[in-house]
């Protein structure tokens, strides 16, 4: 177990559990002896993104100066499990570097129960669950999160997976925390026919916290953010945080924020589109509904910004054919000019909230193709010139 932070206070707060699985010894190219590896790996192998993703998110949570900030529900505990080679190290209690334990079945089950108990210290708590690794989807609400030892048990591989949707329902029933947010950064690919022919399709993993009916469920607000749509593959950059996690962190810096009295709050209904805009800027293309939200109707605050938000502005020429010969520029209110030389793609630029003049200038003859002044606000702006 790796509890990096726990203030033990029962007053309302935020309790996080971050799980990352990068090494799968029993899957494709895993470290286990070949005879022990799982033949029906469905082309799932080793991942370098989950450790970086978990590390980036954990550091954000632990950064008391520039990271997570929720005055109504400050961070009260953070637990991390991550399967990686070499293991991830993060600042633990007292700031000492702590080697993070792997996300194997037994450890994950215990971690979930411990996190549930911490989050249950007060009914107004916010419980945050994050998973990054391989996932299988047997249906839109039958998603399995694969743990490090997935594939070790050739008789019942799904025993080393979490039935996410059942876990969520179980937490709604049994966890006292009213607010429960889930970020699932995993593939939602369909299992192959060979797999379902051999193992069936009724087992989607272990619920860990069993569901069932109870009026306590009515009090819970439990939105989910999936990295991709059903039957689509999430992706990870080698040795970088995943696209989804990078988008999430950028969203938390302002793209997913909304105006409040004298500050900006990242609220639940704004997160999905915030992530989608960030992903577009990272991937140079629009991927419709990259972040799939569920049950995000009720609004509450996830994070409060300490300063003005950063937004994503897409600057382009209305005639896309002009892009390769056009210099794009933005000029701030302080009259600072920043230019981008001609490139064949729009310019996605993160800018602090504020008023800017945007220009498109021909590289050939310096003629101004277009100019506009805009005050940019979250989630962002598109400036066609």
């Amino acid at each position: 177990m790796t509890v990096l932070f726990d203030d033990g206070i029962a007053a309302p707060g935020t309790h996080g559990l971050l799980l990352g699985v990068g090494t799968y010894p029993f899957l494709k190219e895993g470290s286990a002896p070949e005879a022990e590896r799982f033949k029906l790996h469905m082309n799932m192998g080793q991942l370098s993104s989950p450790p970086r993703s978990v590390e980036a998110l954990a550091r954000w949570f632990l950064d008391a100066e520039g990271g997570f900030h929720n005055p109504e529900r400050p961070l009260r505990s953070l637990q991390v499990l991550c399967s990686a080679v070499p293991p991830v190290a993060l600042p633990g209690p007292g700031g000492a570097a702590t080697v993070i334990a792997g996300a194997r079945r037994a450890a994950v089950h215990q971690a979930i129960l411990d996190w549930k108990a911490r989050a249950g210290r007060h009914e107004e708590n916010l419980a945050i669950f994050y998973f990054c690794g391989h996932g299988l989807s047997f249906g839109e609400i039958q998603n399995a999160l694969l743990l490090e030892d997935f594939g070790a048990n050739h008789a019942d591989p799904m025993a080393d997976a979490i039935a996410f949707d059942e876990l969520r329902l179980g937490l709604m029933r049994h966890s006292a925390a009213r607010y429960q947010v889930h970020f699932i950064d995993a593939c939602r690919t369909l299992p192959t026919r060979e797999f379902t022919d051999q193992y069936g399709d009724t087992s989607t993993g272990e619920a860990v916290v069993a569901g069932g009916l109870g009026r306590q469920m009515r009090d819970k607000i439990a939105p989910v953010f999936f990295a991709t749509g059903l039957a689509a593959a999430a992706y990870g950059l080698p040795d970088q945080a995943s696209l989804f996690t990078q988008g999430l962190l950028r969203c938390l810096r302002g793209v997913g924020s909304r105006d409040a009295d004298d500050h900006w709050d990242v609220t639940v209904p704004a997160v999905a589109e915030g992530i989608n805009k960030c992903v577009e800027s990272l991937a140079f293309q629009t991927q419709p509904q990259y972040c799939q939200p569920r049950d995000t109707g009720q609004s509450f605050i996830l994070h409060r910004l300490r300063s003005d938000p950063e937004v994503i502005v897409k600057v382009f020429t209305r005639d896309e054919a002009l892009l390769p010969q056009t210099i794009l520029a933005h000029i701030s209110e302080a009259n600072v000019r920043t230019e981008r030389p001609p490139l064949g793609v729009p310019w996605w630029v993160p800018l602090p909230l504020g008023r800017y003049t945007f220009e498109a200038v021909s590289a050939a003859n310096a003629a101004v193709i277009g100019q506009r002044t805009k005050h940019v606000s979250p989630p962002g702006a598109e400036v066609g010139l």
């Binding site: 082309n43 249906g139 839109e140 609400i141 039958q142 949707d165 059942e166 329902l169 192959t192 026919r193 399709d201 009724t202 069993a210 569901g211 069932g212 009916l213 009026r215 469920m217 009515r218 749509g229 039957a231 593959a233 992706y235 950059l237 080698p238 696209l243 105006d259 009295d261 004298d262 209904p269 999905a272 589109e273 991937a283 140079f284 293309q285 629009t286 419709p288 509904q289 939200p293 995000t296 109707g297 009720q298 609004s299 937004v311 892009l323 390769p324 600072v336 981008r340 490139l343 064949g344 630029v349 993160p350 800018l351 940019v376 606000s377 979250p378 962002g380 702006a381 598109e382 066609g384």
Partner: protein, 494 residues
């Protein structure tokens, strides 16, 4: 003169929404506006139609526009006393005029093109040019390396997707799309089958028995990546029975790659907007190419390009509500609903449109609903009770009961009461809206697990297990992300 913000949404097309509103918006005072900050003002808006005028106090504001595709745009304005300021949201162009509405709904995707791929190659060789976000920052070597990798990945991605799109579409393939409309009737007294059914038996159980031979669907518009199919006006059905669940209409469509879809075809649809209340709206199916992978590594098995089957109805406002639900923008759906909720729920000329509204309401708290619309519980109850063949009405009632109880939220959940609603919903047949299937699946799972924990047995318990197994099989073949339920019969895992 009043201080006013005039808001318009413009798309580079001749298409417009006329009197219908399909976008939702809000005006919010910017933080730091000081004491007396104006409360949030919501509004609805059409595309390429007249402006919406919002009276405000002088000050600084953010104006946001929510589109049914899930996209959110924002502009800011500052107004002095008596000033009028116009805010124009410029929307992206759709691939063709006839796809204007579908583009706003998010049903048509902007596909990768070769120009974009070549543009990305230039990024790969000059990554530093994309890293100047804030003046004075010099990108690190790691940031440059990451940007080069991203760009290379994006080039590879784009090229692969272009090839994948070309392999399944084109002007020679698209006209080969064929479709048929089936009219069926579902017997609510049919038994719940035990065990796993073959695929076609699952479909038949959920969609009912055909009443007559099928009618061909004709391609009314097409291009190299899209085709719209519909019945001819002479064969269109206009009876209320088809949107009340007493009789059903389905479209069976085969795409150019040989995959078969069986989709709810919302014939008999009556518009519920004030501007065209009660008018019949034609139903159609849009077949469109989609790419759902982004930045996959070369050896990763991505799904590449595939065809999507999207039923729709020529009722922009109702489609917009469903779009907002699908993209998780429930509050935007509510803004549209507020304009016409009395028409939608009191008269109920269109239960399907009404239940979409009901699903939006179910996302809110009891307090909010009771304050904004005291009759909301009766609306949902009526959808269930007045239309005994309508599955979505029973699903909405089950969800209402699960989440809010019959009388008060404090009451315990009676498993038998919930079971009755859930089994009734299953017997009524295939839900019109795919949102309903996920809700039903979740409710049945809860019942099954509760039965296991309570060690219950008996015919009703067995029926619940069978119902859950049936819904389980259904969710395996349900196409994700469509408003109306679409079953994929060509690439099942059953």
């Amino acid at each position: 003169m009043n201080t006013t913000i005039r808001v318009r949404a413009m798309a580079p097309t001749t298409w417009g929404t006329g009197a219908d509103s399909i976008a939702a918006g809000e005006v919010v005072a910017r933080p730091g506006s000081g004491p007396g900050r104006m409360p949030r003002k919501a509004f609805s808006l059409g595309i390429n139609s007249g402006p919406q005028q919002i009276a405000v106090a002088p000050g600084d504001y953010t104006v946001r526009l929510f589109l049914p595709s899930g996209e959110i745009l924002a502009e800011s304005v500052s107004l002095s006393p008596g000033e009028q300021e116009e805010v124009v949201f410029e929307l992206r162009a759709s691939p063709h005029e006839w796809l204007g509405a579908d583009a706003v709904m998010g049903n048509v995707q902007r596909l990768p093109n070769a120009e974009r791929a070549r543009g990305l190659e230039s990024v790969r060789s000059a990554p530093e040019t994309l890293l100047d976000g804030i003046a004075g920052n010099r990108p690190t070597e790691r940031a440059l390396s990451n940007m080069r990798y991203l760009a290379a990945q994006a080039v590879s991605d784009t090229d692969r997707n272009i090839a994948a799109v070309a392999s399944i579409s084109g002007l020679e393939r698209v006209p080969k799309i064929v479709g048929w409309r089936w009219l069926t009737r579902i017997r609510r007294d049919r038994p719940l089958p035990g065990g796993r059914l073959p695929l076609l038996d699952v479909v038949r159980w959920w969609t009912g028995d055909p009443e007559s031979p099928p009618t061909p669907l004709h391609i009314t518009h097409h291009d190299e990546h899209n085709a719209r199919l519909a019945t001819s006006p002479a064969t269109r059905v206009a009876s209320f029975e088809y949107i009340a669940g007493d009789r059903r209409a389905f479209a069976a469509v085969e795409d150019p790659t040989g995959n078969l879809y069986y989709a709810v075809l919302p014939e008999g649809w009556a518009r519920t907007s004030r501007a065209a209340y009660g008018d019949q709206a034609p139903a159609s199916v849009l077949m469109t190419v989609a790419v759902d992978s982004v930045l996959l590594a070369g050896d990763e098995a991505g799904s590449g390009a595939h065809w999507r089957c999207s039923p729709s109805v020529d009722d922009l406002q109702a489609m917009a509500v469903m779009g907002f639900l699908a993209s998780g923008q429930t509050h935007a759906a509510e803004i549209l609903l507020q304009q016409a909720q009395d028409l939608l729920f009191d008269k109920t000329i269109n239960p399907v449109a009404a239940v979409a509204g009901a699903y939006a309401l179910l996302a809110y708290s009891e307090e909010t609903n009771a304050r904004e619309r005291p009759q909301w519980r009766n609306w949902i109850r009526n959808l269930c009770n007045f239309f005994p063949g309508f599955p979505d009405g029973a699903i909405a009632m089950a969800k209402l009961y699960l989440k809010f109880g019959e009388g008060a939220v404090e009451e315990e959940i009676d498993a038998e009461r919930l079971r009755a609603y859930a089994l009734d919903a299953v017997r009524r047949g295939l839900p019109y809206l795919s949102f309903g299937i996920n809700i039903l699946s979740e409710i049945l799972l809860l019942l099954v697990r509760d039965d296991e924990a309570g060690k219950r047995s008996g015919p009703a318990i067995e029926d619940t297990r069978r119902a859950y197994a049936l819904v389980h099989q259904l969710t395996r073949i349900m196409a994700p992300g469509e408003f109306f339920t679409v079953l994929r019969l060509g690439e099942t895992r059953l």
